[in-house]
C-alpha cells in the first residue's frame, strides 16, 4: 500500500474535521472535530515518517497528541466554565462580540 493512500485518507479526515467545525454548534463536538483535524495531521506525519524511514514524524505525532490533550483540557474547561455561567453551550449563541 503506497504512502499516497495514507495521505489521501488523511486529507479526507482533515476535510471531514473541517466540515465538522463548520457545521456543528455544540462546542464539545467542535472540539471533537478539531481532534479529527489533528489526527489527520498525525496520520500524515506517521505516513511520512514511514516514507522517509526516520523517526521525526513519529515523535512529532507524539507531541501532537500531547498538544491535542492540552487543547481538549482547556476546551473542556472552557465549556464547563460557560456552562457554569449558565450561558448557552452553543457556539452560535455566543456572539456578544461582533462587528
Amino acid at each position: 500500500m503506497s504512502i499516497t493512500w495514507y495521505l489521501c485518507l488523511s486529507a479526507l479526515v482533515f476535510s471531514l474535521g473541517a466540515a465538522g467545525v463548520l457545521t456543528r454548534r455544540n462546542p464539545l463536538v467542535v472540539l471533537l472535530c478539531l481532534e479529527l483535524m489533528l489526527n489527520a495531521g498525525n496520520l500524515a506525519l506517521v505516513a511520512f515518517s514511514r516514507m522517509w524511514g526516520n523517526g521525526d514524524g513519529q515523535v512529532f505525532a507524539i507531541i501532537v497528541m500531547v498538544v491535542a490533550a492540552c487543547e481538549v483540557a482547556i476546551g473542556l474547561g472552557l465549556v464547563v466554565a460557560i456552562f457554569r455561567r449558565r450561558l448557552p453551550v452553543d457556539v452560535d449563541e455566543l456572539r456578544e462580540l461582533h462587528g
Binding site: V21, L22, R25, D92, L94, R95, E96, H98, G99
Partner: protein
Amino acid sequence: MSPTTAAWLALAFPLAGTIINALLYRTGRTSRLTGYVGTAALALSFAFAIVAFLSLQGRDPEHRQIVSTLYDYAVTGSIDARMAILVDPLSVLMLLVVTGVSMLIHLYSVAYMGGDRGYARFFAYLNFFVFSMLLLVLASNFVLLVIGWAFVTAASTLLISFWYRRQTATRAGVKSFVINVLGDIGIILGTFFILRHTGTLDFLGTFAQAQELGAQHQADLTAGLILLLVGAFAKSAQIPLHTWLPDAMEGPTPVSALIHAATMVTAGVYLIARMHPLFEQSATAANVGAIVGVVTLLVAATIGLVVTDLKRIIAYSTMSQIGYMIMAVSTGAYVAGMFHLMTHAFFKALLFMAAGSVISAMGGEQNLDRMRGFRKAMPFTYGCFVIGGLALAGIPPFSGFFSKDEILLVQAQIGGWHWILYVVGYLAAFLTAIYTWRMIFRAFWGEPNEQARELEHGHLWHAPQPTNPATGEVEDTDVGFPGPEHHIAEREGPMKLAMGTLAFLATIGGIVLIPKTTTWLDDFLEPTFANSSVVHHASNGKLWLGLALGAALGLAGIFIAYKIWATGDGRAALHLRERLAGVHRLFVNKWYFDEIIGWLIVRPASWFGRFAQQTFERIVVNGVFVGGSTGVVRAGSAAVRALQSGFLRAYAALLLVGAAAVILYFLLQS
C-alpha cells in the same frame, strides 16, 4: 538743473502731496488745508515740468532723449526693469499738459469739493493720480509703463467710487478697473511679444531694434502691437472697451475733468505716439488703431446726440475726440495727435468744470431735461461753457479748430481709404457741434427753471432730501456727496481762477501750431519723432479746404442746434426721434455695447461662477473626490463589519476558505 532731475522732482511732488494729504485725513471739515497742499504740490510739479522743458530746450536736438535710472527694480532672468525715466520732448509735453491741467483742476476742486466729508481723501487720491500719470508718461521701460498705467487705473477707480456708499459708484469703479486690467493684460502680453525678440524692456533699446523687428518678426510685432492697442483702447475708452467711461461719470466732476477728459484717457494716445517706431513697422497694427479710432469717434458722437445726462454727453464727446487722436497717431500724425490731445485737455476740462458748476447749481442733478435758463444766473459758467463749446465744435480761432483739422488734413494727405476717415471725421465734427450746442442751449437758454430762479435770487437750490440722481435712492450723507453744500464758479474764487485760465488756454491753445504761421509744437517734438518715416507735407489746397470745411460744419452744427433747441424748444428733435425711432433706440442704448458685453462676457463668467459654486464644487470636488473615496471606504467598512458577524463558525469558514485559496494559489504555482 538737468531735465531728468527736474522730471524726478516733478514726479516726486505729487507723491509727497499724496502722503501728506493721507496723513492729514483728520483735518476738519471746514479746513481747506489739504486742498491747498495738493494744489501746491501740483504747482511745484508744474514748475519743475517747466524747468525740465526749459532745460531740455537748452540741449542739442540730438541729446534730447535722456534716460535716468534710480535703481534696479527687477533685473533678472530675461527682464531688465529699472526704476528709470525717459525724458524727451514727448514726455515733457505730456508732463506740462498733465501737471498744468491738473494744477488747475486741483485749484478748482479746492472750492468745488469744499463741502465734502472726504476732502483730504479726495486730494490724496487726486495727487496720487497725478503721480501715477506722470509715472506713466515718464516711464522708460514697459514695466514702469504698465505700473503707471495700472496706478492711474487704481486712482481712477478710487475717484470714480469716491462716494463709495453709492452702489452705482462702486459698481462703476469696479467696471472701470476690470476693463482697464484687461488693458493692462494687453500691454503685458504685447510686451512679451516684443521682449521675446528684443531681449530688453527698455524703450530706447527696443526702438533701436525696431527695424529688425519689423523685418524679421513681423507677425509677432503685429500681434504685440495689437495687444498694446488693447491697452490703449481700454484706457482711452475706445470701442469696444469704452463702456466704463460713461459710468465713470459717477465720480465727482473735477475727477471727470481731470482723469476722464484731460489726462488719463489720453494715455492711449500717448502710448501709440511713444511706440511710433514700432507702429511704423507694422501697417496692420497702425490700421487697426486708425479704424477703431474712427469708429469710436463716430459712434460716440451719435450717442452724444441723444444722451440726456450732462456729464455723459461730455464723456461721449471725450470718447469721440480721443477717437480723433487715436486715429491721428495711428496714421503717423503724431504732432497733430498730440496737439489735439493738448487742446482737448484744455477745452474738455473747461467744459467739465463748467458742467460741474451747473450741476452744483442743480443740487447734484445731472439730467439735461431738467436744466433750463441758467444763462442769467450763471454768467461766468455760461461764458466758459460757450468757449469750451466753440473750441469743441471747431470754430475758428478756438484751439480745437486747428488741432482737429490738422488730423483730418493728414488723412486727406495719405489718401486711399483714409479718405473715409476724412469724411467720417468731418461728419463727426458736425455732429459734435450739434450735441455740444444742444447742451448749451438746453441748459442755459430758455425760461429759467426753479433752480435757476432761486440762484438768481441769490441762493443755491438744495434738494430737501438728497438722492442719487442715477437711482433715486436716498443718499447716505455720511461720506459726502455733491451734497448739502454746493459750490458754483460764480461764488468761488479758485473755481473762477481755474476756469478762467482754462478758458483762456482753450481759446488761444491753437497758437502753437497754426498752419503756415507757427510750428512751435512741431519743432519741439521733432527730436522724438525724428526717426519717423512718415512725413506729411500737405498741399495748400487740401489745407484750406479742410479749414473751411471744418469751420463751416462747426457753424452749421451750432446753427442747427440753435434752430432746434434755442428757438424751437426741441420739438424738431422730438419729431426726428419719432421718424427715426430705430436709430434713436440704437443711440439711446449706446449701440447696445453694454448688452453685448454682458451677453458675451459677464453672463458666461457669472454663470461659470454659479456653476462652480453650486454644482461643480458640490458634485465633483466634494462629491466624487471626497465623498466618492470616503464612500468606497465606508462601504468597505460596512462590508467588513458585516462579515465580522460574531459567529464563530463563520470565522472558521472564512479561515478555511482562505486556506483553500492559499492552497489553490500554491497548487497553481507547482
